[in-house]
Amino acid sequence: MFLALHMPDGFLPPQLSLLGWLAALLPISWAFFVTQRIEDQQFIPRMAMLAAFVFVAQMFQFPVPGGSSAHLQGSALAAIALGAWPAVVVVTCVVAVQGLILGEGGLLVMGWNLFNMAVAGVLVGSSLYHWAIQRGYRWQSAALAASWASMQFSSLFACLELAVGGTSPLTLTLPALGLTQALVGLGEGLATVGALSVLRSQGPLEVRSSGWGWAILMWLTGLSLLPPQLYGQSPVPGLGPWPVLTMTLGVAFLFVLTLSLSHRLWWSRERPS
């Protein structure tokens, strides 16, 4: 059965759709610029293989009331296995192929679909994973929490866009998409840990972390705090910066909780010698 995987056209007004392209193009162009300069010849086939895996993983989906579908995302897996900027390129290719060749997800709103999964999902996953690793957490805990948080941030942005575009109020999308993604996120985390352990069995993963991750995370959060009046009429009475800030903090709190629980799951903590 065919079912739209990402936001289709018509869900957001054209002005907002074009704004999404502007928001996505800057980091994606930078990601292409950085990745094209990597001289490792084996890197592109490895990126393509991960892209194929993410492509297949994203096909497992569940329709959710509120205008979207919950599905595995693979952003954090790509970010941890390849580094932040190459992962942005990989997820961009996956989302673009789904939109351009399979007709899944609209072309006008592709800017926001790319922003949610390829930019926000990857950069949040990458920066949180490296933050946890630098503090001595086991890679399994870090990967599980980073994948979960990257899905949460992506769905939070999708909910905000649907609300700001006047399609679906946050009161409907946040519980529906947020709760489903929270559950799917746990599956995504386990799948990421499994896939990474397979990749690590082939050799150590080369860490290509980006120091810009946190800066961009702050930028993304700042973007979510913009008052909706800037984008157009909002259907949610009283939706201003504060409820959005509360939601963002809520996601951050849930992330810390997941990190702590997953850390307890593996119990021990690797201390740098």
């Binding site: 056209d9 018509g10 292409f32 592109i44 205008g67 390129v89 961009t92 996956v94 397979v198």
Partner: protein, 236 residues
């Protein structure tokens, strides 16, 4: 007309069509019908099957998420649904939302039905998208095909092993699926390495794939037609 048959020309026109549809004001049924007529004309000219029209209808259940706008859009009331009032602007907005989503998806599906994926890849090259994008997408599609073949082979092996009189246990199934996913990843990684070695032996040294880009879009036809497609939603 032949110049317009290439996917490199049709892709920008598709974008123009979708932008035009997105710009139609709610309640403007005439213009929605006009774009629908254009789509039917395309279907007739394409001479393919009409299955894309039905496939596009799968979007309609998803658009039900727009139901709240029936009640939240301010305006004169049309009727009561329980304790909520359906407003006229809300109904127009909701119907426009459904029509836009359907028309945009149907246009995409029409284009996809016209050309195989490889031709669309050529169109990306012709439209001067970054070489890394076209190289990655072309390799990714090959790997997806390989992953699919491997997966089918593993499914046959799994079915053969569980061919008992009663269904295997839930735990056995979960373990097997986990092993399958891991093996699939491992095999695709090995396959990627083999493909890379084959490419290197044929002279690949990184960078763009050495393929001749197909001819670009016929801009002198595409640009005025694109402006017309967008303008139809606004004139007069």
């Amino acid at each position: 007309m032949n110049a317009l048959r290439s996917p490199a020309s049709q892709l920008p026109l598709l974008l123009a069509f979708q932008l035009g549809v997105a710009l139609i004001r709610p309640g403007d049924g005439v213009r929605f019908s006009l774009y629908f007529g254009l789509l039917l004309l395309l279907g007739y000219l394409g001479r393919g099957s009409w299955g894309w029209i039905l496939r596009a209808c799968w979007i309609l259940p998803l658009t039900l998420c727009g139901l709240p706008m029936l009640f939240t859009t301010p305006g004169p009331g049309l009727g009561q649904l329980g304790s909520w009032t359906v407003t006229q602007p809300g109904l127009e907005k909701f119907l426009a939302f459904q029509a836009r989503a359907w028309l945009s998806l149907a246009a995409s599906l029409w284009l996809l039905g016209q050309h195989p994926a490889r031709q669309l890849l050529g169109a990306f090259q012709a439209l001067k998208l970054p070489w890394l994008f076209t190289a990655l997408v072309s390799m990714m599609l090959s790997y997806v095909e390989v992953l699919g073949q491997e997966f089918r082979r593993m499914q046959v092996a799994r079915a053969a092993r569980s061919a008992a009189s009663r269904a295997p246990s839930w735990r056995w199934q979960v373990e097997t699926v986990g092993h399958q996913a891991g093996t699939l990843m491992l095999r695709s990684q090995l396959r990627a390495q083999r493909v890379h070695e084959a490419m290197v032996s044929r002279g690949y040294r990184g960078g763009p794939l050495p393929e001749d880009p197909p001819p670009g879009p016929c801009w002198w036809l595409v640009l005025p037609l694109g402006v017309l497609l967008i303008g139809l939603s606004q004139w007069p």
